[in-house]
Each structure stands twice: as C-alpha cells, then as structure tokens.
Symmetry: C2
Subunit: 347 residues, 2 copies
C-alpha cells in the first residue's frame, strides 16, 4: 500500500521511581500510513526535533494525580517537539506547516490537539532562528525561564540573582534575561567547561562548578557576600538547602525543577526551611503552562533580543531517534551542554 512507512518509536517499558536509565526505554517499530483519518480532526506529522526535558521523568512514575498523566508503558514517549505536517484532517494545520508542541518520540505522530497541555502552535519559519529553538529558547524551556523570572519573582535592577543548572535549557536564558534586567547574576553548573560558557559566552557575572565545592553554603557566601535576592532553582536538594541559608530578607525562590531528586518515594530532606520566617522568603513552584496568555509577549521579547544578538543559546544536538534514551538519561548526570535536543530528521 502506498504511503505506508516504517515508524520507529522510543517507548517506556515500565513505570519507574528513581533516576531514569536507558534500559527503562526501548526502540520499537511499526508500520504507519501517512494519512490523517477522515473525520478524526487529527493531523499526521513528521517529527524533526524532539526535546529532552527533566520534567518528563515525572511522567515515568505510576502517579495519576498530577497536572499531566503518566506515560503509557509500551507506547511512544510524549514530549515537546518541532514537526512538519504531512497530512491533515484539521483545517488549522495544513500539509507543509511547521508546528511545535507535544508530539511522540517516533518518526511520525498522529496529533489530535485535544488538550491545552499539548501547547500546539504553528511556527513561522525564520531564516535567522533555527527551527529547533522552538523546543528550547523559544519553546517551553525558554518560556519557563521568562515566567519564573518575571511572573514568579520580581527582580529589581541591581539585585543579586542566583541560577542553578545555569547552562541548561532554562538556566542559560534566566541568567541572560536577569543580566539584561540589570541584575548581578551568578550561575552554578557541573563542569569547568560549563562554568567557562556561563562566564564567557552567556555573560554571567560569575559562575562556579558545584562539584568542586565541598561546602555549598561557603561557596554561596563567597559568590554572594551580600546574599541572594532571587534564586531560580532548577535542582532542589543540597543547593536549595544552601541557598536558603544565603537568601536576603524578602528573597524570592522560583522553584522550577528538582533535577537532583534521586527518588520521588524517598526524597532527600531539605533542612533549612526555618530560614523562610526571619528572612520572609517566598518560595513558589510554578508551571509555564499556567501563563500561556503571556506566550506571544515572550516570543516577541526573546526573538527580538536574539536577533539583536543580545541573547545567545546553546543546544546539545543528538543525531537520530535512537540516541534519545541516552540523551534523556544524560540530563540527570548533567552530560548535556546546553539544551538537549534530538534531531530525528532535517525537514
């Protein structure tokens, strides 16, 4: 039959609780017709770029009470991606359109666009902006940086901002936005190469390798002798504990991610929450998806600054769908340098 092709898929084998391993996923393959069924309202896309994001780990748990359901074992992993419409039964998406949003870890995905969680939108190709940036700088991670910095915190010019996992998909933009805002910005990351990027490529005021610091409290006291006004927390754990001791009065903590979490069922304790009271600290968890009405404003703000070369962005691009499990797992040991993307196909 014409238009039937092989569709490789990365599937979750079974639910997990701890840190993801490559063996938690496997490759499968099945035939797929390059057709969107009539009357389905769906459209079929060819996936180009897939995003590896730490939050996806939460969907690998057998936990159904969260804002988003868990993955279905045996089915392709879901994640944000950039894709090209191949066939469509949806008048809003036409063959040839580029889209970003929730898709599958596979070559081709039939998308029903039936939930706001999927954050589907058409991309206007732009010669100045790589398509893949729509899962990074201009996608969910970039918007997370924007929302966390401006909606959850309210940094003032001259304030002291600390970002953990600072060279990651979210952190690199947090730091650059805070710098453009007139803040003093220090980032932490896990290698000397990343520290170098933070200082010399992303323009952070300073940066350090947390793996070289035996005492994180002492490290933060060295980098922030005046204390921290805004902590953009991507990691949780020991760094959060140390930051709590170094916050300034009325400090703000945007709780964005806890990539250091070893286990949901037996999480490590945070010991310094008593600091919240005398320092009147606000600590707030957030999801970018609550602020989608701000997305157009974000897109314009960041695209413009990117084109003016006031913002840079680094991707860690893996080639081939089959590299996805290792790339995803690498997020939790910090193997990636910059935003982790999988290139499944180039247009």
């Amino acid at each position: 039959m014409a238009g039937v092709v092989e569709n490789r898929q990365v599937v979750l084998k079974e639910y997990i609780d701890g840190i993801p391993k490559e063996s938690d996923m496997e490759m499968k393959s099945e035939k797929v017709a390059l057709k969107a069924p009539k009357g389905s309202g769906a459209f079929l896309v060819k996936n180009l770029y897939l995003s590896c994001d730490p939050y996806m780990r939460g969907r690998m748990r057998n936990f159904h009470a969260s804002y988003i359901p868990p993955f279905v074992p045996g089915q392709p992993i879901e994640g944000f991606g950039v894709a090209k419409v191949v066939d469509s039964d949806n008048p809003d998406f036409k063959p040839g359109d580029y889209i970003s949003g929730l898709t599958g870890w596979e070559d081709y995905t039939l998308i029903y666009n039936n939930t706001s969680l999927s954050q589907l939108r058409k991309i206007q190709p732009d010669d100045c902006i790589p398509l893949s940036y729509h899962v990074g700088l201009l996608g969910m991670p970039g918007f997370t940086a924007y929302v966390g910095l401006y909606e959850i915190c309210s940094p003032k010019k001259g304030e002291y901002v600390f970002v953990s996992a600072a060279s990651g998909a979210v952190g690199q933009l947090v730091g650059q936005l805070a710098k453009l805002h007139g803040c003093y910005v220090v980032g932490s990351s896990g290698s000397s190469q990343k520290v170098d990027l933070l200082k010399n490529h992303f323009g952070f005021d300073d940066a350090f390798n947390y793996k070289e610091e035996a005492d994180l409290d002492a490290a933060l006291k060295r980098y922030f002798p005046q204390g921290i006004d805004v902590y953009f927390d991507n990691v949780g754990g020991d760094m959060l504990d140390a930051a709590l001791l170094n916050m300034r009065v009325h400090g703000q903590i945007a709780v964005c991610g806890m990539v250091s979490l070893h286990s949901f069922s037996d999480p490590k304790g945070i010991h310094n929450l008593h600091s919240l009271i005398p320092k009147r600290i606000k600590m707030q968890g957030f999801l970018q998806s609550d602020y989608l009405n701000k997305f157009p404003e974000f897109l314009e703000h960041v695209s413009e600054r990117y084109k003016q070369q006031n913002i840079v962005y680094i991707e860690d691009m893996n080639e081939g769908l089959e590299t996805a499990p290792a790339a995803f797992v690498g997020l939790f040991s910090g193997r990636n340098i910059g935003k982790q993307v999988i290139c499944v196909a180039r247009d």
Copy 2:
C-alpha cells in the same frame, strides 16, 4: 532612699541551640529606683502581663544575623508585655498610662522606645477586653494570625483551610477568622482536650490530635479529601511534610512558625518540597512586624468581633514572674492551653 524597690528578673544563663529547658534561665534580683532618668527620654514601667512566645527561642541562640538581636546572657529576657507607666521622661508616655510592647521579664523595666521592633503603643483600657489580651488576641500573636491569613494567603469563601497548633495563641484566631470568612477549617493540636476546644469552643469544622495519628498524610487525607487550599503552618516538621502532599493546586502555605524544630544546627529534613512544582504551591515566611501599617485595621476588626461575641479567646495564665521559665519551656511540649501569659502583677 525612697522609691527604690526590689526588682526580680528572669535572665538567660547562656546561649542554647536545642529546645529550651527551665535550667537555661534563672531568677535574679536587684534594686531599682522607680525613676526614669532625666534627659534619657525613657520611661519606667511596672510589668503586669508577660507573653511567652515560641519565636523567643530564636533569640536564645548565639546568632546575630537575624531580624532581631539575640538576648544578652545575664540580662532579663525581653518579650512582649502589658505594663503601666510609673515614671516618665518621655512626653508620649505618662505615669498611669497602660502600654503594650517589648519589655523585660522582670518587675520593672526602663523602656527607651528606640526601635520599631519594640512595637510600643498605649492601650486604652476597655471594660470589655482584658488588659492581657494586648499580648494575645489584640497583640503580636493575634496580628500574626491576621497578617498570615489575609496578607500572605488570600483565602476565598468555601476554601479548605488547615491550621496546625490550632489552639495556640495564633492558631485559635486563624481558625476563627477563616470561619468568619466562609472557609472550611480543620485544626490539629496535641491533646483531646484541645481538640474538644477547637470543635466546641472555637467553632472549627473539625480537629484532630496529631499525637494519635501514626500517619499524618493519611490523617490529612481523611480530614481533607478534597485537599488543602491554605495551610497556616505553626509547627513545620512532619506536619508540613504531610501537608505538602495534601495541598491543592495553587495552594498557599503561610510559614508562621516551626515550633516542632528540635535544633537550629541540625534541623530535621522536609522531604516533599517536590510537590511545590506540579501543584504550583506558594510557601511564604512572614513576620507581622512588616505589616504594622495594618495594625489599626486589625485592632478594630478583631476588637469589634470580640465584643460582638463572634470571636473568643483562651489564655493560659500563670501567676507570678517565677513561673515564667516553666511556662515558656512548656510551649515546646504543648503544655499550655491557649495563649501562654504570665501575670506579674494585677495593676
């Protein structure tokens, strides 16, 4: 010499880190002239009621970087009290005036009123309101309840409110204000007598004795099958950990106190902060002293409702300055029933 009297004092012996013990304090006595020195701007008061508040423990540490300095070992403990002016070199305070604010744990105190932290104000005696309420319902603890509920959280009618240490100086008012606001309110406390008070005297919708619950998470799931919108946290520790698992989306936690904290230098861990992100929880520490511009509004709001018998208040009144150390220490085991006050003298 005329006007020289014995002045008994409760002094801190030395700095501590763990839970206060009676032996950390001792009684002393010295002579005092019942005079405010000319040119000092000070006034001399006779202390009537002294307040035992858990926050005072923080001033027993050798830690100088907080919002308020530590106590001075060998000097009388400082705390909120109600007192009567005996002699004055300050035109704003005249002999015979009743005041509330920061005073000493002693019979007589010379007050310099040189810091906003002392929260000194004149009290208009009112036949309908016991003087001692100015260190409880109408003083710092009451104002803490008001600020935490209305300024830190923003409860809506019909929302689910949980209060820990609910029969304490702060908790009893939090619950009653939340009820008047149209919320569903459950409190936790540490004895069946207190649970009875919460349900039958303070009008909480429900209450439980945390000491009888082997699994606090399960207890909260039983009392809040729909989850918690607002948690007014007076205790920290295991109850905070369990509450984190039971918050609703966009829940708010006012972090008011951590009376369960066993040690500042080796605090127990909180394990469920990862809940902050998917549930978008805001957790905020606060001090009532940041909101003093709201004090007149609070005083009017609560006095009025008290006089209309829409609010009740329970004090645990100890007689005699010498009972202060045991009464203070009792706060940390929940020995007190209601607001702990020491009566030093009755007018």
